[in-house]
């Protein structure tokens, strides 16, 4: 076990898989010599050579399309997109090609790529802080992963690279450098499709992922002081979704709050809330509440960003409201 930041654990996971399987290649802007703008790939070009770590021309659609081709040609490409917001420009290749290749060819061709991108708030403005998980989770043929801890980012990136289908791997960038966490040194895998209970509780289930896991745990500490014990479920994989773990938690607590930093309207929280409302209908002592960003672009200045994105305090207010009913 080592104490690592998420970015360190991510780099360790990438390095592991590159050492294990020479088909694993990295493609992205500024990931080679510079080691990536968030340093996820630092040192990997020196260790594995330029033929394994490609500084790509400035084109996100091109990076993904070329990765799809490289996968068709027998490699295991891991594409880095510098900010998740740039993925919109690559959605043609992701949605119509990567996601459909296996299905449309009835398994003749497959597309084992991982597309990694930092996402979410922390001061980038309207086109550098977007949460994009709802788009990808809605596309059949993709898997969508969002780690929230150093151990998980290592275990999940390794599972994603070994997966035989395209995986969209979204990294909450404001957690890259803190908090640190214990990360297993060995060949550590977190299987896709399995949620985890980060904190057990009885008053309400908070279903969350990404940076909001950290906010939820902070809220849980504060609420515990008042004797309110919330359960925090970290979804980790949005597609395929671990319905069972979520339903079991709500069955126990009878109350649910869905919490993400993406815009609430039409966000992935709608799927979670709709599913819980239907499947746990008889269990629910109150409506499933949803917390997300306002329906606005996220402004850059901290004063304005904070007015748009939710946080621990937003959750605390919602928990108090729900448990008072």
């Amino acid at each position: 076990m080592a104490e690592q930041t998420m970015i360190q654990a991510l780099r360790a996971g990438l390095r592991d898989e590159m050492a294990r399987d020479e088909r694993v290649v990295l493609l992205g802007e500024d990931i080679g010599v510079a080691g990536g703008i968030f340093s996820a790939t630092q040192g990997l070009r020196r260790e594995f050579g330029a033929a394994r770590v490609w500084d790509m021309p400035l084109s996100e659609n091109g990076i993904v399309g070329i990765s799809v081709g490289a996968a068709l040609g027998g490699l295991r490409p891991v594409a880095e997109i510098q900010f998740a917001d740039y993925l919109f420009a690559a959605l043609g290749q992701i949605a119509n090609e990567a996601a459909k290749l296996r299905y449309r060819s009835r398994g003749a061709w497959t597309c084992p790529i991982v597309v990694r991108a930092p996402y979410g708030g922390g001061g980038g403005g309207p086109d550098h802080t977007q949460s994009v998980e709802a788009f990808f989770a809605h596309i059949p043929g993709l898997k969508v992963v969002i780690p929230a801890t150093p151990a998980d980012i290592k275990g999940l990136i390794k599972a994603a690279i070994r997966d035989d289908d395209p995986v969209i791997f979204l990294e909450p960038k404001r957690l890259y450098h803190e908090p640190v966490g214990a990360v297993p040194d060995d060949d550590y895998i977190v299987p896709l499709g399995v949620a985890t209970v980060r904190r057990a509780g009885t008053a309400a289930s908070v279903i969350t992922y990404g940076a909001m896991v950290v906010e939820s745990l902070a809220a849980a500490d504060l609420l515990a002081d008042d004797g309110i014990a919330i359960e925090v479920v970290d979804v980790r994989t949005l597609q395929p979704l671990d319905f069972a773990t979520i339903a079991a938690s709500v069955h126990k607590t009878n109350r649910a709050i869905v919490f993400h930093e993406d815009v609430r309207f039409g966000g992935f929280g709608a799927e979670l809330a709709a599913f819980i409302s239907e499947v746990c209908f008889a269990d629910l002592a109150g409506p499933v509440l949803r917390i997300g960003a306002l329906s606005l672009p996220t402004p850059a200045s901290p004063e304005l960003e904070n007015a748009v994105l939710p946080n621990a305090q937003t959750l605390i207010t919602a928990v108090r409201h729900l448990t008072a009913q």
Binding site: P57, N61, V68, L72, G74, L75, E97, Y103, S105, A108
Partner: protein
């Protein structure tokens, strides 16, 4: 004049009568099948597809140097002749056109003519133009890294070159001298839009310079000219000299059925073979009869084949053993 050109080319390329007859047979087979598929569509038997007429020499010539099963092909919907030439059975094509369960191309999942064959290394085509150009670049990157010696050959129309994908693909391929060949089958029109409303340059090949690769214009009436161009491009790719952009000018043939159009690639080669005595009119007639008979047998079998089974609709979303989807879990 046209015959003289074919003659000169034959000598330069050192082609034997058998080589010419093989090319003729491949083009003729595609022509006859293309006509039969159009009939089926006209009769309402089939749900889509695209005409190959006039494109035969472009395709047959370009795949000639290809090593089937090693090199990759990334075709578009017009590439019927290319598919036949690399060994896709006529049966498969009828099954595909009729969207049968046993169609090895997509089993009715895609509309007809979105080609696919793992064995032949024909990469499953989507319904979106130009996307495959990036895949071709990526495959060529993989081939280069794996020292596999494979070349990626991709086809598309001149309309497709307006998409950003085309630019991104050629830029990357040129940058890293990848073993990929970009073939534009320029028939001058994209659905209803003429080339003059598509791009401000006279030739797609004029764009090759922007990507540091040779751009070659070749006459799509003349299969030997195409073949010569393709051989050079394959040689370059295999020698590590990088990609080539080939623009094949597809002849605009007069109304279908008028085989006497002198720019018709099938008719042109036929006239040449007859003029040299490499083929007699009787041999030509019996070849046609043979191809037609095989075609009808394949069609009959395809018409008898079952329609897709709704029970199979969930197969192949993810790898076997992968986490189940929502619907599978709920049985819904």
């Amino acid at each position: 004049m046209r015959l003289a050109r074919l003659d000169a080319r034959r000598i330069t390329l050192d082609l034997q009568p058998d080589d010419l007859l093989r090319a003729y047979r491949l083009m003729l087979r595609a022509r006859l099948l293309d006509e039969r598929l159009a009939e089926l569509r006209a009769q309402g038997h089939a749900i889509g597809g695209a005409v190959c007429r006039g494109h035969e020499a472009a395709q047959v010539g370009c795949v000639e140097p290809l090593r089937v099963g090693l090199d990759y092909i990334l075709p578009y919907y017009r590439d019927l002749a290319a598919m036949l030439a690399v060994g896709m059975p006529v049966e498969a094509i009828f099954l595909n056109q009729l969207s049968r369960a046993t169609d090895p191309i997509s089993g009715g999942r895609m509309r007809p003519a979105q080609w696919n064959s793992r064995a032949l290394r024909v990469v499953s085509a989507s319904g979106l133009v130009a996307t495959q150009t990036l895949h071709a670049a990526g495959i060529a990157l993989a081939a280069q890294l794996r020292h596999e010696g494979a070349v990626a050959l991709t086809f598309f129309g001149e309309g497709a070159t307006s998409e950003g994908d085309f630019h991104e693909a050629l830029n990357f391929a040129g940058l890293h001298h990848l073993p990929v060949i970009f073939v534009c089958e320029n028939n001058g029109i994209a659905l209803s839009t003429p080339q003059t409303a598509q791009m401000p340059v006279a030739h797609v090949a004029d764009r090759a310079a922007a990507y540091g690769m040779p751009g070659v214009i070749v006459d799509g009436s003349d299969v030997l000219a195409v073949l010569a161009t393709a051989r050079e491009a394959f040689a370059r790719a295999r020698a590590g000299q990088g990609p080539t952009l080939i623009e094949v000018i597809i002849p605009r043939l007069s109304g279908s059925g008028d085989d006497a159009d002198p720019r018709d690639p099938v008719e042109g080669l036929r006239a040449y073979l007859l003029s040299r005595g490499d083929m007699t009119p009787a041999a030509d007639a019996s070849l046609r009869a043979e191809l037609r008979a095989a075609q009808e047998a394949a069609l009959a079998a395809a018409l008898d084949a079952p329609l897709p089974d709704p029970q199979t609709v969930r197969d192949h979303l993810f790898a076997p053993g992968s986490a189940p989807t929502e619907d599978e879990r709920k049985g819904g």
